[in-house]
């Protein structure tokens, strides 16, 4: 049962102000009632002074919770005989629910190999968000040993907490190159499997 002052006849808020299920009567200014229509299922009411009603419906804040997980793998070897970055073909795309959420990127880039022939060759792997480089080299100079012998390194890994500040589809990927402009370096050598995992973390 509602508790409150019973208005005098003809002075209360008229029933006709309610137009649909879920409508809320809210104050939009002093002595000025208004209506806030029901929000999306699961959304909660939050204060927002920019809104005419001072309120809005919004997705509940994640508060550090994992909201979604995207995982991708690749097991096709790629060999780069240049010092120009090339795609490893390890890539994953995520669409954050809110621009304030973060994305935890976890990469395990396997099958790093320096091909025999050049003493200065080494594998450099970087991480990108769309076209933006976010980690320039997370493999060190894998395989380097100051000799022209072949050298195989199991893997290079990285974890990076990113703030993409968007609700658009966002692609994370790795690229690699040889430290020297020579033959050459490989990833996913022997068709070993690399993986990338994206976790959206609520703000």
């Amino acid at each position: 049962m509602a508790i409150g002052r019973i208005p005098e006849p003809g002075t209360g808020i008229p029933e006709s102000i309610i137009a649909a299920k879920g409508d809320l009567i809210v104050g939009t200014a002093n002595d000025t009632p208004g209506i806030l229509s029901v929000g999306t299922n699961g959304h909660t009411l939050v204060a927002d002074s920019v809104e005419a009603t001072g309120l809005k419906w919004a997705a509940p804040a994640g508060g550090g919770k994992v909201l979604q997980v995207v995982n991708a793998t690749n097991a096709t070897g790629v060999n780069n005989a240049t010092n120009t970055f090339a795609d490893t073909n390890l890539t994953a795309t995520i669409t954050p629910a809110s621009a304030s959420n973060k994305v935890l990127v976890i990469v395990n880039q396997t099958g790093l190999r320096k091909v025999a022939g050049n003493a200065e060759s080494a594998v450099i792997v970087r991480l990108l968000r769309d076209a933006t480089e976010i980690i320039s080299n997370f493999s060190g100079f894998a395989g380097y040993e100051n000799s022209s012998k072949e050298n195989r390194v199991a893997s290079a890994s990285v974890s990076y907490l990113d703030s993409p500040n968007t609700t658009s589809a966002t692609t994370y990927k790795t690229q690699f190159k040889n430290f020297q402009n020579a033959n050459g370096v490989s990833v996913q050598d022997g068709n070993s499997e690399s993986s990338i995992t994206l976790l959206e973390i609520g703000a």
Binding site: G77, N79, G117
Partner: protein, 81 residues
Amino acid sequence: MATGAEVLGMLRPKGGWVITGDDFSGIQWISCDPLNQKEFEDGFPAYDAWKAEQDAAKAAEKAALLNRLGITAEEAKLLLS
């Protein structure tokens, strides 16, 4: 059996290329003279023959050295251990 990277490493040893997998369609020519598909595919048996030749030459060289030293391969291993 040779890999695409090994074939390119033999035919374009100075680099300038990127290859994904072992198919001609996976090659990007970055800074070297490109091969055509036939040249690339002919490179597989050529690489295998070249590799067998290299391995045979190495084995002969090793045997000749052991012979000059007057020791067996097992004795050489013991010396190096």
